[in-house]
């Protein structure tokens, strides 16, 4: 589905991922593990198109298009007290489709509702993002990623900071998306046990970096 050719990623003059070759297949549930600072997140940012490769390239295969990739970045400090309704946040996923209209049409609203339902967040639609719990916030951001994506989900530590129950809830949702919606999952995680349990393949980044 995605093939990296001699991919080099980094910030400024510092390279974090060096001439990396890797292939992600359609239908996989790939978990990327490794210690802090080994380049997991950087790699995911490269796949998501947020960070441009310094060298090498990322090839999209099997007719995969950029707008079929959904991305769930790590939550930022600024977002924690951001005054926005869940609906506003989920709908913002459609901004990549170069809409210039100052409002969203019925079809997009329907799609947003469907995505909220898939992440069990329908009841949160009118809530304010800053008043949600950590687990609820992640489910909303996952719904936003789903709105932007149809085939591939890139998840950056989706359960970090969540209590055990919320984490389990999140893992179940992701498992359903993988098994029932046939989505390809790429997840960066620190939770090795869960990776072993759910993933179809594990990539240990400690062995690749440096």
């Amino acid at each position: 589905m995605i093939k990296c050719h001699n991919l080099t990623l980094g910030y400024g003059s510092k390279n974090i991922v060096n001439s990396f070759n890797y292939e992600i297949n359609s239908g996989e549930y790939l978990c990327i593990i490794g210690r802090n600072g080994c380049g997991k997140t950087t790699f995911l940012r490269g796949l998501a198109g947020v960070l441009r490769p310094k060298a090498g390239r990322i090839e999209l295969r099997d007719n995969l298009r950029r707008n079929q990739i959904g991305y769930l970045p790590q939550i930022t400090i600024a977002q924690k007290d951001f005054p926005a309704s869940v609906e506003e946040i989920v709908l913002s996923a459609f901004q990549g489709k170069s809409l210039l209209l100052p409002f969203y049409g019925k079809a997009l609203r329907k799609r947003a509702d469907e995505c909220l339902e898939l992440t069990h967040a329908t009841n949160l639609r009118k809530e304010s993002f800053r008043e949600l719990s950590g687990g609820q916030k992640q489910r909303v951001l996952l719904a936003r990623a789903l709105c932007a994506a149809e085939r591939l989900l890139l998840l950056d530590e989706p359960v970090t900071g969540l209590d055990p129950e919320s984490s389990q809830n999140m893992y179940n949702i992701i498992k359903d998306l993988h098994e029932q919606k046939k989505m390809t999952i790429v997840m960066v995680s620190h939770d090795v046990e869960a990776a072993k349990k759910y993933a179809t393949r594990i990539l240990n980044f400690n062995e690749i970096a440096q």
């Binding site: 910030y11 400024g12 940012r45 998501a48 198109g49 947020v50 950029r66 707008n67 990739i69 991305y71 970045p73 930022t76 600024a78 977002q79 951001f82 005054p83 926005a84 309704s85 506003e88 946040i89 709908l91 913002s92 996923a93 901004q95 990549g96 489709k97 170069s98 809409l99 210039l100 100052p102 969203y104 304010s128 800053r130 008043e131 936003r144 990623a145 932007a148």
Partner: protein
């Protein structure tokens, strides 16, 4: 009191002040929400000091229309500060502090060395605190301000959803294919224009208040981005109108009276929300 008010409203310069005041406070509050949420509250301060420095340069060069120098210089610095350090965010606040104090010092220095007027301290004070400059607007100033305000407002409404997407999550917006660099550039330019305009209203040192207070007040009470934006605009316009009217009736400095009104509004919002 109302008789006195209507008496003053007969003067064109009072009507100009009210038109310009409303437009500027409207524009500054809209962008203020984005700036506060992007953790760039201090940019208003930095840019207004740059505008002050540019004003001094314009005075030294004896340019007749000083906007020709102030606007491009402020826009250039805004782009440098907002779009420059994408991966070096930490340096952001230090860069603003540096530019802010540096421009202020150079501006004052230039005004002193090349002064043509007898009352340098008075001139500087007027520019920094706005004192009465809004009441001395010429029709051309008003037209320029109205035109620029309309451009800012139309841009904001047209790109409202894009601005929201970038403010909430720049990385995600970039991943979905939004041209984040372009819109950050656009935001930087709009902010520079607003700051330069607002300098006329409240003076260089008080511009931040106009940008930050209405947004913070609205955020205390409202919970969605849309309601916060609308509320900030309403609060800002009401405070500015009240400030201008009080200043005219009581003879107080316009800029600081407006900011005092903004503080009162913030306190009301703070108390009612907690």
């Amino acid at each position: 009191m109302f008789d006195q008010l209507f008496f003053y409203l007969d003067f064109p310069f009072v009507r100009y002040a009210i038109i310009v005041g409303t437009l500027i406070s409207l524009c500054s509050s809209l962008l203020g929400v984005t700036l506060v949420l992007k953790r760039y509250s201090y940019i208003g301060d930095g840019l207004s000091h740059v505008a002050f420095g540019a004003l001094a340069i314009a005075a030294v060069l004896k340019v007749t229309n000083n906007m020709l120098i102030i606007l491009p210089v402020t826009i250039a610095v805004a782009i440098l500060l907002l779009c420059g350090g994408k991966d070096a965010r930490i340096k952001g606040d230090a860069a603003i502090a540096m530019v802010s104090a540096g421009a202020l010092a150079i501006g004052y220095l230039l005004m002193n060395i090349f002064s043509s007027s007898a009352n340098v301290a008075g001139d500087v004070c007027t520019t920094l605190f706005g004192s009465m400059s809004i009441l001395t607007l010429k029709p051309t100033d008003v037209y320029l301000c109205v035109a620029l305000s309309i451009v800012v407002l139309v841009t904001f409404v047209l790109f409202y959803h894009k601005i929201f997407a970038i403010t909430f999550d720049e990385n995600f917006a970039r991943a979905t294919g939004v041209n984040v660099t372009l819109f950050n550039l656009l935001i930087a330019i709009i902010i520079a224009v607003i700051i330069v305009l607002a300098m006329n209203l409240v003076g260089a040192l008080l511009v931040s208040a106009l940008v930050v207070f209405p947004a913070l007040s609205a955020m205390r009470i409202f919970k969605s981005f849309f309601s916060v934006t609308v509320a900030a605009a309403v609060i800002s316009v009401i405070c500015s109108l009240a400030g201008i009217l009080v200043a005219i009736l009581a003879g107080t400095p316009v800029g600081s009276t407006i900011v005092a009104m903004d503080i009162v509004a913030f306190l009301i919002c703070f108390i009612t929300s907690s």
